[in-house]
Symmetry: C2
Subunit: 161 residues, 2 copies
């Protein structure tokens, strides 16, 4: 069994970054969790082959944009292509929103976005663990159904609460 089928489901987020020249990218991730309440910290695991990894290595900041259930197709698209080849914001029809404290843009389609500054990056197995301190958050919607991932093409759904 893959570990993604063992520790599931996980909330899906879109990680936004820029490279040193300011070119932005977006990537889908679900190896993500809160680390601290106050100040808020977020951890995310990123494979070093990802374009996002290159960006975060250059500019140690990232946006975490939480996906609602309606954002399934956007999340799938941003997980299926590389920012090396296509502009995924355009491809997935994502609306960019300017950040205030980091260079990467946020995603207006998300109910909640976090602006994060990297405090730690370290390799573990086939991923790098990246820990960011939340320096600003945008809450566009307090009540939403989060998009969840298990493994591969499986996105389990929550019961209505």
């Amino acid at each position: 069994m893959r570990i993604s089928e063992q520790l599931f489901p996980r909330p899906v987020v879109l990680i936004t970054t820029v490279d040193k020249d300011g070119k932005s990218n977006v990537m889908t991730a679900s190896f993500v969790m809160p680390v601290s309440f106050s100040p808020k910290y977020v951890a995310v695991a990123i494979a070093p082959s990802r374009y996002t990894f290159k960006n975060i290595s250059e500019v140690k900041e990232f946006g975490v944009n939480v996906c609602s259930e309606e954002m399934l197709e956007m999340a799938k698209l941003c997980g299926s292509y590389s920012g090396r080849e296509v502009d995924k914001f355009e491809l997935a029809n994502l609306e960019k929103e300017s950040s205030v404290k980091i260079r990467a843009p946020l995603i207006k389609n998300s109910p909640i976005s976090f602006e994060c500054v990297v405090e730690e990056m370290k390799e573990f197995g086939d991923h790098w663990l990246v820990v960011g301190r939340v320096v600003r958050e945008v809450v566009r919607k307090e009540r939403f159904k989060p998009l969840l991932h298990k493994s591969g093409g499986t996105f389990p759904k929550l019961k209505i609460d």
Copy 2:
């Protein structure tokens, strides 16, 4: 909004540990995620006031025992008391199972358990991030409905798949 209400739901696990004298403890956690597929790595955030934190600081190993939906009461009990005062295995009626590669016991009630060796511990805000390499896993049940947590007493449920 608390960060636990923003990045949700998260799978609930029971973290098992021992202190340097071999006394075991169990704690509920949901700030947990996979970090790497191969080798498998798991990250968990633990508040330094927890007895489990003292144990992991002394003996750098821990068990991750995934909770199924039926384990809600066990998880609540193991999240509401301190191992300083009570034997939570007994209180929550958990069945211990011997580990093979670590000293902490596993929990037989769980569908899946991981034996982990600590490779990193670092403080971020009000928690410590602990990263463990999975050195052995026990899969007792491949199909199960995971117990999920949002915040406080809210445990959202998955739709039947």
